[in-house]
Symmetry: D2
Subunit: 344 residues, 4 copies
């Protein structure tokens, strides 16, 4: 049984384990004030090419999303998110639990645009309604699609014009950037957003997201929020060390590119076998639509999620690849799919 | 420079690193539903001698405290805690941020008792006040003191009689149990409380606390709360694996006993050098009261916290030992102290 | 300038003022524990025909909605509401500010049904999502439509089958019941819901809503929640007295019937003048669609809200009548509308 | 049975009832945007002598306290309050329910001072603790004591120096100002604080507090917070009208002076009868310490609270007077007390 269920099925990339092991008995300060976190923050600033940013290391995506959003909004302010956004669908009301409404926007492909946001701004008017204040996007999205630089730039300009904060959830930013083949860089993302994070958990770390705060007035007191929400690890070094490992050897984007390449194998295979995909994803997530009979056969040897029935005979499934996905496993899946797809 | 600042200055016990390394590339389910978490939960149940308990693995103490307390209280219910309790003093209002008041109780030694709690129950009466509903204690306490089995039993009986939930913060439960030399066991703690946790971060793990819920009506839906508060790690295996390592080889209490032994060396040394301690701690924390001149000299070679001035010439400092503290480092500290203490 | 903006443009029905005046200097207990609140609660129980219910008097709709919902839900539980529901659109995120997500459901007419709710139950599954737990409806709805007894009964049965609480916002329950001409009674509403309220503010009171809690396990400690949310007035008598006035003389439904009759005059007039309505409302709210030129002329002499443009030339406006609306004012509006509508 | 339980036992001062009655059928805008609220705000500005302040009318003290505090603090910021403060002891955790910790300060007389606050500022340091940010005082205090202008000025200067917001709960500000005999004015209070309110409920209104926001950066969006917390009444006119009545005829301070005079009669009587008071109050609250036997006799004809046993034989009781307290009732109480006090 091989799993394509998600990109966190294995432990960490070996270089991460190595770094943890090598430094294990060195004494360091607690709560993220250690030399490793400091070095990792410096390295990230260098890779991005920005000095005047704050970098914080947090344990996971939901933790980061709820801490950021509740830190930056006043009580009557709300978040704008795609209806498929992680904060809306898969965080058990974490944002609302901090007191804030999510204004959801229906999309075809999980991606927001100024045109989709504008009607929500028009609708919210006056003190009987929340005030839309922060635009949340994820890149790659929950549907596996990615934003072009131009699309992010358009959102960025729109947010500036409308007094909105712009927050990019980068749990899968490695895959998103790798998918764009150089068109989009970390520097671009930093330039165009107010705050974003570089996901570690889904790209080679045991756990950890590197949060980057660029906008000046959002920086103050952020460690208070981290602590209050339970996000300040005593051995914060564990997070810093991992990002040090991932960026020191420049392997972060290599891992992402590998995950994407494995997804491409699957994607090509699905198409060659004559099937379609739910959305035109280009990252490490894909959603093939397959006959239920084939889904059942595949389930004998492969782990994946069945997302939704498309009609009586077919369902959309979710396949996810990662830095750890073996090429032979991806090819074997395709072979099996083709075999099942052939007329008997 | 050697640090006695805390018990989370190093990484993990080597057996933890070994376990993470050995299993690193095995695929596992996400979000704590993996075989390692399952095995660790089973092992902990076995060590405690209870089958009918729920075990959840969480990333840190503040996270655990806020999740437990907000999960178990209705909005108008409050926590009773020593004024020195971690939730009161060192969690940046994490409990209040979930909506609940902490009713604080002054103590001499960081320990609650029925006698200290009763006046608070008497005072709170009717709907213009919060309702006291949960007693929070930490063992070992923030002052390094520990509860005897009889003291915990008295609190347990009192809580039952008064309809109070009883929650024990066991961030340093290893040291507390080890300090009692067999008088108190994990089974006792489980028997006498409704919910408690076994701290990993401060006793050999990179991160992680094992939460044990015994009381039946508190069990339902707990994973929802973990997720909502950002406490459900995608690679939950990381937590399960570490507790597996710590309890598989029965090293958990060995590590705690070592930490205590190192603290004893320091404690004896302080007394032999002619100084007193702020509280009669018996765990891995101690608070010597030292002349400021000596504090300054010690600071040249040792890291520790200066807690509070006692008078114009002396201060209380905090020394903490751990599984990783070297016996030679403890002895060297004592030697230095004695040297500085000698009349010149 | 005559206003059809809302049903709270005037003060209170004269019998309310009379009751406040007559009792003004009598001493009474504070915080709703006075003889007037007691008598009003008894009278309401009698009118409903239920003894085993709790009646609480609160100051307004948003206050009541947020107190009820936050009292009855655990942190991970969510509300199901029409997308047009008052709690979703017009309470500035009051529900989310207490920590709970609202799951919104698109409707044609502001009314929920089991068929509309079911897909939301199907979708929410497992601890990565909130748990739908309470169905919120308003009757009359924000679109002026009302529920039949059969429709409420269907929702009631559905909620029971699915473990959902059922809460009816009765800010305009007078108008809704009056509109149904005897088909629906307060007793029916009490029978079929777990908790509901009888709106005073929009039907003759200065302020006040009478909350009725029927479901046994929801009753305990409710006054704690009222106090905590700022909803327990020191001179609670003010609320009790008003409901006493409204129900003692049985004028509550007379006032609602009058408001409906005035709305009927407007509705007929709109149709006779050749215009249509946005929704088929039968309560004291109506939403005519009128040419913009006519809207502008009407605005010279009448106050009302312009809700939304329908196309380039026409807009939907909102007209609201109340116990205080004069028949001659309603007729004058219709005359003006007909005059403007005539081809010149 | 005559009640000295509180200052909200009766309805409203007749001039308030008269104003409500006279304007009852006039149409007005909803939600506090009516001409009466506007006029009342103007009148209050004029009485205070400040133009550049925002005035909002709210329904009660707890509602005002929780709305103000949650509006002005960021999530990690905390309130400093006397341990006897209303927000700490008598609001069912309303402040904590909005997410904020109250740092309590023990006092002799319910009054804060820079000297009492300083140790709390010293103690709170760094991101593991909340940040003290707002000083809350009530004047008169819950013990009936009042602040001198100099005392408020000292707190004001201290707050400015330390970056603290300064909020004065004026539920009983009428009595407090009247007690100081011209030494303290509304203008002083406005000058020296950032935000305060003029209590209506306890000084002649049916309900209502007039909130005054002076500090510029606290003004924005306050109506959003009022709405979100359920504090924006549909018929906001009810509040504006009452303050118009109380300030138009300049009776606000007359009513307070009357209440104080009645309290003086009681206070003198208590002393003449040979008894002492718990605190040296000078407002409309007093706390005589009486033998239990006398307390029991008084309870036959008078309503009041028994606050606390002082020893086995005596208790402190609470007597409260108001604008409605009759001089003959106050004298009769004193006579009874003297009678019971005489040796038989």
């Amino acid at each position: 049984m091989y799993s394509f269920k998600n990109d966190y099925s294995e432990g960490a990339h070996p270089s991460v384990i190595k770094k943890l092991t090598q430094t294990n008995l060195v004494q360091a300060e607690g709560y993220g004030e250690d030399v490793y976190c400091e070095a990792a923050a410096q390295l990230i600033k260098q890779k991005i090419g920005y000095e005047d940013i704050d970098v914080h290391f947090m344990s996971g995506g939901t933790q980061t999303n709820l801490t950021v959003i509740s830190a930056f909004l006043r009580p009557h302010e709300a978040v704008l998110s795609a209806a498929t956004g992680h904060i809306e669908e898969h965080e058990t009301g974490a944002i609302e639990a901090t007191g804030h409404k999510i204004i959801t926007i229906e999309t075809d492909d999980g991606k927001l645009s100024p045109e989709l946001i504008q009607p929500k701004l028009d609708f919210h008017d006056g003190e009987h309604m929340v005030r839309p204040r922060l635009v949340y996007i994820s890149n790659a999205t929950e549907l596996g699609t990615t934003y072009s630089k131009a699309e992010i730039a358009a959102l960025s300009a729109y947010c500036k014009q409308n007094g909105l904060l712009f927050f990019l959830d980068g749990a899968r930013i490695g895959s998103a950037i790798a998918a764009r083949g150089g068109e989009l860089t970390l520097a671009d993302v930093c330039e165009l957003t107010d705050v974003f994070y570089i996901g570690g958990t889904k790209n080679g770390a045991l756990l950890g997201e590197a949060l980057v705060i660029k906008r000046q007035e959002l920086k103050s007191d952020f460690r208070y929020y981290m602590k209050q929400k339970g996000g300040l690890l005593a051995k914060g070094r564990v997070l810093g060390l991992q990002f040090l490992a991932l960026f020191e050897d420049d392997i972060y984007f290599e891992l992402a590119a590998h995950a994407n390449a494995m997804a491409d194998i699957l994607r090509q295979g699905v198409k060659q076998a004559g099937f379609t995909l739910l959305a035109e994803s280009d990252s490490n997530l894909l959603f093939p639509i397959l006959p239920n009979a084939i889904v059942e056969k595949l389930e004998e040897n492969y782990g994946f999620l069945v997302i939704a029935p498309m009609d009586e005979k077919a369902s959309a499934i979710r396949l996810v690849t990662s830095w750890a996905t073996g090429e032979k496993d991806a090819c074997a899946f395709v072979d099996a799919l083709k075999e099942y797809a052939e007329p008997q």
